[in-house]
Amino acid sequence: MTAPDVGVSTWSALGTTVELHVADPAELARATTRARDVLDEVDASCSRFRADSDLVRANRRPGRWTPVSPVLVGAVRIALEAAHETAGRVDPSLGEAMEAAGYDRTFDLLSRATDLPTALPGVVRPGAWREIGVRPDAVLVPHGARLDLGATGKAYAADLVAADLATTLGAPAAISVGGDVRVTDAPHHTSLHGRYRWPVVVGETRTDLADHPDDTVSLLLESGGVATSTVRARRWMRGGREWHHVLDPANGLPVAGPWRSVTALGHTCTAANTATTAALVLGDAAPAWLEQRGVAALLVDEQGERHPTSAWRASAEDDSADLAAPRRGGGR
C-alpha cells in the first residue's frame, strides 16, 4: 500500500488561518488556487469589515431589498436556518451589538485594551433575525438590526470550499478555516481512494496545540465536519470590561456560562459550528440539548474537565483495529 502522501498549504484569509490538505500532492496547487478564489469571494460578499462588501451594503439599507451575490444569499439562508434550529441562540442579527462592544474591525486590528467606553448599542432586539428577508438575488435587513455572520461564516466558507473541491478534484481533501474543518464527501473519492480518514487535532486555541499538547484531542474525521467554539479566544478590553466574541442574543453581552469550549461533529461544518455556538449560549442546558439531537460533542468546563455527550462516547468501532495503521481504504 502506498504511503498516504498529503499535500498541505496554509495561508491567511477571512481574518484567520486556512489550512488545506489534499490526499494527492499533485493536485495541491490547483486545489489551493480554487480554495483561495472561493474564500476571496466569501470575503467580498460577507465581510462586515469591508466597506464594499455585499453585507455592509445591505446593512446600510435597512428595510430595503439589496441585490447581493449568491454567496451572501446562501450564507444568510444557512444563518437563518441555524437561528431556527437553535431558537435564536445562534443569531445573525447582532452586528450592532458586536460593533458597540468594540469588535468593529478585524481582530488583528482590534485594540486589546482601551479605555474607550462601549457605545450604547440601543436595544438588542431578540428575534430581529426573524425579519431578515432572503430572495434568490437579494437580502433585506430589518430596521434595528445589522447582519453579522460570524457565528456561521467560517464554517459556511469551509463547506463552500469542500463543495467546490468535491467536483473539481480527483482526490479527497480537507479544509480548515479558522479551525472549522470540513472534508470532501465526493462519491468518486471514496470509490477511488476508499473511505479516507483525516487525522484532526482538536485544541481550544492554536496556542494550546503547540504549548499544551496533552490538552488536545485527536480524531480521525471520515465525513462531514468538526468545529470548536471557545470563549478563550478573541478577547479584548473595552470600557473597563473584558469582552469576547460569543454574545448572548438575549442581552448583547458576552455569554458567561459554565463552558469554556465546545467541540462538535456535524454532517456539515455549519452544522457542527451551529451546535458549538448554541452550546456556549445555552450554558447549563447545553448537554441535554445536544443529547436530544444526538450530537457528538465534547464540552470543556472552566476547570478543564471534559464532558462528552453519549454520541461522543459511544463505541462502534472494532476495538482490535490498529489505529496506527495506514488510514486509507476499508481493510482495517
Partner: protein
C-alpha cells in the same frame, strides 16, 4: 527817551530787510529741511532697503527650509510607502450549484458527521451518531506460499493532521 516813530521810508526799508532776512531764513530753513528730509529720506531708503533685504533673505531661508522638509518627507515616504487601497476586481468563481450544495436546506441542522476519536493516553474509539454505513472492507489478496515471507514493510509515516482550534 522813547524812540521816535519810524518814518514810512524807514519802515519800508526795515520791512524789506525783515522780509529779506526772513525770506533768507525761510530759504535757509527750507533748504535745511529739504536737506534734512533728503538725508532722512536717504537714510529711510537705506533702512527700507535693508529691511527688504532682510525680508528677502528670510523668505529665501524659509523657502529653503520648506523645500528641505519636502525632500525629507519624500525620502521618508519612499521608505514607508503609503498603502493605497485599491478596489479589487469582482470575480465570480463560486457557481450557484456549489452554493446550492453548501447552503442546501438542512445544512445547519445539528448532528451527523463521522469520526473516530482518540482520547489522549487511551485507545478508546467512539463514533458519532447517526452512524454512517461502514465502508465494505477490501478482501485481502491471497499470499503466495513462500518458505520465508519477507518482513512487512515499516508503516508509512502518518500524514500531518488537520488542525482545529477554537474561534
Amino acid at each position: 527817551m522813547p524812540r521816535p516813530p519810524l518814518t514810512t521810508r524807514h519802515r519800508d526799508r526795515y520791512r524789506a530787510l525783515v522780509v529779506l532776512i526772513t525770506g533768507a531764513a525761510a530759504a535757509c530753513s527750507v533748504a535745511a529741511v529739504g536737506a534734512a528730509s533728503g538725508a532722512a529720506a536717504h537714510a529711510s531708503e537705506q533702512k527700507q532697503a535693508a529691511k527688504e533685504a532682510r525680508a528677502a533673505a528670510a523668505r529665501a531661508a524659509y523657502d529653503r527650509a520648506v523645500r528641505a522638509q519636502q525632500l525629507a518627507a519624500q525620502a521618508q515616504a519612499a521608505l514607508t510607502p503609503r498603502v493605497i487601497v485599491k478596489q479589487r476586481p469582482a470575480r465570480t468563481v463560486v457557481t450557484t450549484k456549489v452554493v446550492h450544495v453548501a447552503a442546501a436546506p438542512g445544512t445547519a441542522r445539528v448532528g451527523g458527521g463521522t469520526a473516530v476519536v482518540q482520547q489522549r493516553g487511551t485507545r478508546t474509539t467512539v463514533q458519532s451518531a447517526p452512524q454512517a454505513a461502514a465502508a465494505p472492507r477490501a478482501a485481502a489478496a491471497p499470499r503466495a506460499a513462500t518458505p520465508a515471507p519477507a518482513p512487512a514493510p515499516a508503516p508509512p509515516p502518518p500524514p500531518p493532521p488537520v488542525v482545529t482550534a477554537g474561534s
